[in-house]
């Protein structure tokens, strides 16, 4: 098969799940007639009709509330945030209602909330957010943030089939920039399994989404300096694959976390705590964080470049860590 974009992988996952299972419906702003702001749902309306591809008013709380109500009757709604930044508008509906239902009153909400996230495309402070950690702190969500077309398709399918509310972040920088050949037919990628993208014995680099590619780029440069980095793609932040992380760190004894989310309260801090609790004696150096700045995402290309991690920053941090 011809290689497909990340965007096409998302579209295929939704298309195939909807074709196979009438419980799956799509609800969001401009998902029907227009096919989604990024065309991730192009053609779905024509194929599946108005009852299954639902254009809504600009009402994020109502989208989430309605999707949750639909899930209580046994449907598996996919709710799209036009940009993931707007998920803040339905924070209450998600964190207080959707996330707590199974724990409190035994009410699973098999729904997916998905949308374009991340920066690097000069979207400015309200179209570039990486909001995953707002939700990681709320028990009840699964959180997925893929880095490749293969994973995007397989993880989205697994998310739709999961009985829990899944927040599925799609890095918009990757939408059209990477292509991958993926197998024909149905496959899923399980939630909670990280993958080793590059093997190495000197330092572990943990990352996900667009930063996984940045980390791989840095790893190639490090290799030329004789430092073999092991690059791990977390794929999902909840569940977090502690086993794969710990196995790698026990081998390399050094750990670097790269994420596009801002530094304070990012997943790197959580991973630092896990390593401190479970691999303290395996570490030869401090856990190092390469992250975005603790600021809103700025608009000007020069500012955004300064804000985001890049391969040079990862290279420098890994090189200095490797000296321990």
């Amino acid at each position: 098969m011809a290689p497909i974009t990340f965007l096409e992988a998302i579209r295929q996952a939704m298309f195939e799940e909807m074709a196979a299972d009438p419980r799956v419906v799509l609800i969001g702003e401009d998902v029907g007639v227009y096919g989604g702001a990024f065309k991730t749902s192009e053609g779905l309306l024509e194929k599946f009709g108005w009852e299954r591809v639902i254009d809504t008013p600009i009402s994020e709380s109502a989208i989430i509330g309605a999707a949750c109500g639909m899930s209580y009757l046994g449907l598996r709604p996919i709710a799209e945030m036009q940009f993931i930044d707007f998920i803040a508008c339905c924070f209450n509906q998600l964190t207080n209602f959707v996330a707590k239902g199974h724990y409190l009153w035994n009410a699973p909400a098999p729904m997916v909330v998905r949308g374009p996230a991340g920066g690097g495309v000069h979207g400015g402070p309200f179209h570039s957010l990486s909001p995953e950690m707002y939700f990681l702190h709320t028990p009840g969500f699964k959180i997925v943030y893929p880095s490749t077309p293969y994973d995007a398709k397989g993880l989205l399918k697994a998310s739709i089939r999961d009985n829990n509310p899944v927040l599925f972040f799609e890095h918009k920088f990757l939408y059209r920039r990477i292509k991958e050949e993926i197998p024909a037919g149905d496959y899923t990628v399980p939630l909670g399994k990280a993958i080793v993208r590059r093997e190495g014995q000197h330092v572990t680099i943990l990352s996900y989404a667009a930063m996984m590619h940045t980390s791989l780029e840095a790893a190639e440069a490090l290799s030329k300096e004789g430092i073999e980095a092991e690059v791990i793609d977390l794929r999902t932040l909840m569940p977090l694959d502690e086993e794969t992380i710990l196995n790698s760190v026990r081998k390399t004894n050094k750990c670097l976390v790269v994420h596009e989310d801002t530094k304070t309260g990012g997943i790197a801090g959580e991973i630092a705590a896990i390593l401190s609790e479970k691999a303290f004696h395996d570490l030869d150096g401090p856990l190092v964080r390469v992250t975005s700045l603790d600021t809103p995402v700025p608009y000007a290309p020069t500012l955004e470049e300064a804000f985001l991690p890049n391969a040079q920053k990862v290279f420098a941090a890994a090189k200095s860590l490797a000296r321990f």
Binding site: A19, P22, R23, V25, V33, L45, E46, K47, F48, G49, W50, E51, R52, I54, T56, P57, S59, E60, S61, A62, I63, I64, G65, A66, A67, C68, G69, M70, S71, Y72, L73, G74, L75, P77, N92, Q93, N96, F97, K100, G101, H102, Y103, L104, W105, N106, A107, P108, P110, P139, G140, K142, N163, N164
Partner: protein
């Protein structure tokens, strides 16, 4: 008198229906009185909220639903839960945080649900959130071919939330079978409705969504029931969401801790004289539907039931501490087998039958209520009595109901039962 108005407004109730409404209102009140005693004995773990004086709304509206229909209560709708089939022990154990409660002690008050059998969705404390959720329930019900109606409640206070607007607007744009009961009890905690909303009638909020609304005397259970029944059937038949404003008064404070000293005594006195159960007893007695012997039988039945249910709750254990860490996630099919109840052929929903022509219009949309379209034009500002409404002599005006707070200073209670706003059905 309101009681005689009820008779005029409700020609179709059977004797059993009249008595059911009475039984559930009494049950609602006795359950809450039992909990007040438990609260004073320090046996209620958290807060206790009272619906004293509002029982006619919870009972009358929920009684209009069928078994297949869905509801989500608010904090003062224990009566609705009882009507839907929740046993009193569930209410007691919830408040007492017992392991035997529907949430096993993980949440209290009316915060519990039952997706499988009773079709109840648990409320949360953030007001308005249930409106889009119940809209989704109605949308899914229609999709599955179930012909269900979804009902939830909101207060005068909660009607100012953003999600009230989002939810009702989505419901209207989807023509979802949602019936929203707006209980205007005149107070949002300590803030009177006049300082929250610059509207005479909160039912006017419906205008913004082009949907039908009703105003009803919330202390007249028969009026509430007949209005809700009509609304439920209209929603079921595809008329879209309906808003019912029920005018009433919160007789106790926001919760047990609140003596509500901010309420003017004259207002309180007025509404205490309009106790929905006392009014209804007079009506039942005048209609010879209930005599002293019948009332005594109900008294005894309730006392025996609640004694048994309270004992069950009191004798139940607290949840074991290890439960605290369990149940955040559904572990899969062994935890929940999630299958919808299809009541239409599935192949209608799969290609090729589900395909649409790429013509960007939705059938019926833009021709709904409140629009200038041809489907169901409504002339807002027209106010007419429901066809089965009070006889000519008792015909109310909207202004008669417009300002219960003001009315409270008068001695004469409003005569109106139910005022439909908007035009008659298509």
């Amino acid at each position: 008198m309101p009681a005689s108005d009820s008779r005029v407004n409700s020609p179709k109730l059977s004797r059993q229906q009249y008595l059911d409404l009475y039984y559930y209102m009494r049950l609602n009140r006795e359950v809450e009185e039992t909990m007040t005693r438990l609260f004073r004995q320090n046996k209620i773990v958290g807060g206790l909220y009272s619906s004293l004086g509002q029982e006619a709304i919870s009972v009358g509206t929920a009684y209009a639903l069928e078994k297949r229909d869905w509801l989500a209560p608010m904090i003062r709708n224990i009566g609705a839960l009882l009507v839907k089939g929740v046993p009193p022990r569930d209410i007691f154990t919830q408040h007492m945080a017992k392991y035997t409660s529907p949430t096993k002690g993980k949440d209290g008050t009316s915060h519990f649900g039952d997706l499988e059998n009773l079709h109840i969705i648990s409320p949360i404390s953030m007001l308005g959130d249930l409106i889009p959720v119940l809209t989704g329930v109605a949308m899914a019900g229609r999709y599955l071919g179930q012909k269900i109606v979804a009902m939830t409640w909101i207060g005068d206070g909660g009607s100012s939330t953003g999600v009230f607007h989002e939810g009702l607007n989505l419901a209207a744009s989807q023509r979802a079978a949602l019936v929203l009961i707006l209980e205007n009890n005149l107070w949002a905690y300590s803030t009177p409705v006049r300082r929250q909303v610059p509207l005479e009638n909160l039912a006017d909020r419906a205008k913004a969504y082009g949907i039908t609304s009703y105003i009803v005397d919330g202390n007249d259970v028969v009026a509430v029931y007949t209005t809700a029944k009509e609304a439920v059937e209209r929603a079921r038949s595809g008329d879209g969401p309906i808003l019912i404003e029920a005018k009433t008064f919160r007789r106790r404070g926001h919760a047990q801790h609140d003596p509500a000293e901010y309420v003017p005594p004259a207002q309180r006195e007025y509404w205490e004289k309009r106790d929905p159960i006392a009014l209804y007893e007079r009506f039942l007695s005048a209609e010879k539907l209930l005599d002293a012997k019948g009332k005594k039988e109900i008294d005894e039945k309730l006392a025996a039931l609640l004694e048994k249910e309270r004992e069950f709750a009191e004798n139940s254990p607290m949840p074991p501490p290890e439960l605290a860490s369990e149940g955040v996630y559904c572990s899969g099919p062994e935890c929940h087998e999630l299958q919808p109840k299809w009541e239409r052929p599935i192949d209608e929903l799969l290609p090729p039958k589900s395909c649409v022509e790429p013509v960007w219009t939705v059938a019926g949309f833009g021709h709904g209520k409140g629009s200038s379209g041809g489907g169901a034009p409504i002339h807002f500002g027209d106010t007419q009595v429901a066809p089965n409404g009070p006889a000519e002599a008792a015909k109310p005006s909207v202004t008669a109901l417009a300002n219960p707070a003001k009315k409270s200073l008068n001695k004469k209670p409003p005569a109106a039962k139910s005022v439909r706003r908007g035009k008659a059905r298509r």
